[in-house]
Symmetry: C2
Subunit: 394 residues, 2 copies
Amino acid sequence: MMALEGLRVLDLTRVLAGPYATMILADLGADVVKIELPGVGDDSRGFGPYTNGESAYFMSLNRNKRSMTLNLKSPRGKQIFRELVPLFDVLVENYRPGTLDKLGLGYEVLHDLNPRLIYAASSGFGRTGPYSRRPAYDAVVQAMGGLMSITGQENGEPTRVGTSIGDITAGLFTVIGILSALRVRESTGQGQVVDVAMLDCQVAILENAIARYAVTEEIPRPQGNRHPSIVPFEPFDTQDGQLMVAAGNDGLWVRLCNALGRSDLATNPRFETNPLRNTHYSELRPILAEIFRNNTTAVWQTLLENAGIPVSPINNVAQVMQHPQVLAREMLVRLAHPVAGEMTVPGIPVKLSDTPGALRMPAPTLGQHTEALLGELLGYTPDQVAEFYAEDAL
Amino acid sequence: MMALEGLRVLDLTRVLAGPYATMILADLGADVVKIELPGVGDDSRGFGPYTNGESAYFMSLNRNKRSMTLNLKSPRGKQIFRELVPLFDVLVENYRPGTLDKLGLGYEVLHDLNPRLIYAASSGFGRTGPYSRRPAYDAVVQAMGGLMSITGQENGEPTRVGTSIGDITAGLFTVIGILSALRVRESTGQGQVVDVAMLDCQVAILENAIARYAVTEEIPRPQGNRHPSIVPFEPFDTQDGQLMVAAGNDGLWVRLCNALGRSDLATNPRFETNPLRNTHYSELRPILAEIFRNNTTAVWQTLLENAGIPVSPINNVAQVMQHPQVLAREMLVRLAHPVAGEMTVPGIPVKLSDTPGALRMPAPTLGQHTEALLGELLGYTPDQVAEFYAEDAL
């Protein structure tokens, strides 16, 4: 049994924030039916790179889902959609607010069709407020929400996070909203709207930067890779790369000095406590930098790991994919795609001891399950399905 | 009614990943009882800046929770803890794996005391694998998990994300695990272990970088602020700052040119399609850069927003805190703290239409609710509580 087994999700999402949310639901066992535009599908099917014509981007986000095409602008497409809605627990969409209303398929209509339906909408700015109807992209939201302003090298340019963290955090909060609303439904029998905005999520993940500014009125700047108040807690260049060294307290500092063969530093009264190491940072940093330059990343890593110091090389993606802990945790999974062949995708970070999630199937080709789903869910015959295709409803 | 009302959470977490998870649960209505070390409390009570001696960091992450002190190393402390466990639905901890086992309070013991208990553990590397027992910090996990290697200016240094995204994503996935496990318990009556590792979460949020590398074998590098394949989709310097401009498709490109008063660019055959704009990027970029330098961020922002182009200044935290959409969405909330006074904290990004979350109370002072909770939950009298204090159990 999987945790979300039996949960039926009608998935109208595209690109990233929405598909990330429904991927998590699917990974934990939900039955996710992805509705796609006939002929085109999820926009991300058009994002490279490709393997045998299939988008790697799309495949990594849409495993464990089934795909059916449906033209929501055609009368027949709308009719089929209305027939589907009562069969599902959750609908997820990440259109700009108002898009489904224009199609006559807004929340009120859907709620009338299925009062138990949880309607989850993930958008750039949310369903309310002056920016609600505006278009957004991850880069715009990262710029607007402050995250870029605190990311970057010290005194350097504001920097966009290299993964689409605006979309991803919206996806995560959307899942939390859906699961919370499901809990409510257990007692009330009623669905509701889950409204998650990428911009709101950016504010939520600023966490202490907001409290810090509110208290000090100092505007937080790009912080670089050095901890603002702990020393040493930063990367050092080695003979062949960089090593992140995080001596988070005075005990670790002593252990670090001993492991580096420099117990004299540990007993040097100028470096004895973290406040002192902060004060004498410009003296201490070059001493440590010189030591680390004398050997390779791998040598220092082994030495310091064995001494119990939290350290890590700054791994690139290739190195991450060979990391023993990542592999031991099954955080990389190979799936066999019918067109693309063998494909590596991230595993499931929510590890449940008794009802673990599973990667059951690769991402679907466009409309791969249209006929099967229309038969299974609504009892339509292959002849009827052929008619719907002829009507451009599928 | 709030979505998670009635859910009782025993919170052993400290610093960030765990407290972030229990904050979300508390914001959505759960009754979170934070267990803290007598005299010291959550380590983050010691993180500055302070207001009237109260840590802003701690206050921003622990609103909506009640605090009781408990010394888990004393026999009486252990006894009280064992009496508490049967009263709770969820226990959350973010110790290094093995820490509670050493205290004789590992999962097996707790499961025997309360088979319905969901035991959620968030740690650096998870409860399994060769790195399981190692210490971790956000910076180490960002370095190890690949995120730093894809964040930074083009051809620049790998860069740490300016918020502790390693902790925060672990907190979010932990909440998802807890809510999923609660759904299982509805049918089985049994709790289970939710095991979330910061490193796993880093891999999970790399999303398409993994698929991209798996397909192309090109190692992803720091991407800078420019979109890897869409033009223009990057910040431009203005007279007084920077504006992020995201013309995500050819239609937006035409609108952008017209809004800039340069419809000639839209019809220039060298720039007509996105592939062409990529090819002629080194010609196009200076033309656009020159245009944007001619006016202020605010002027361009208004002009381009009115033309429907996704744009944003790169806001700093002070600007975010005045942003009309952020305010309209109640993403900044003022709480009155009994010691610190008025305090601004981030709002709740999960907006539920029928059972919204709420900021009900400020972060607790250390042990603020010890006596009240021991009375309410276990029926201990003030005299008994005084005895427990005398025994150093509280």
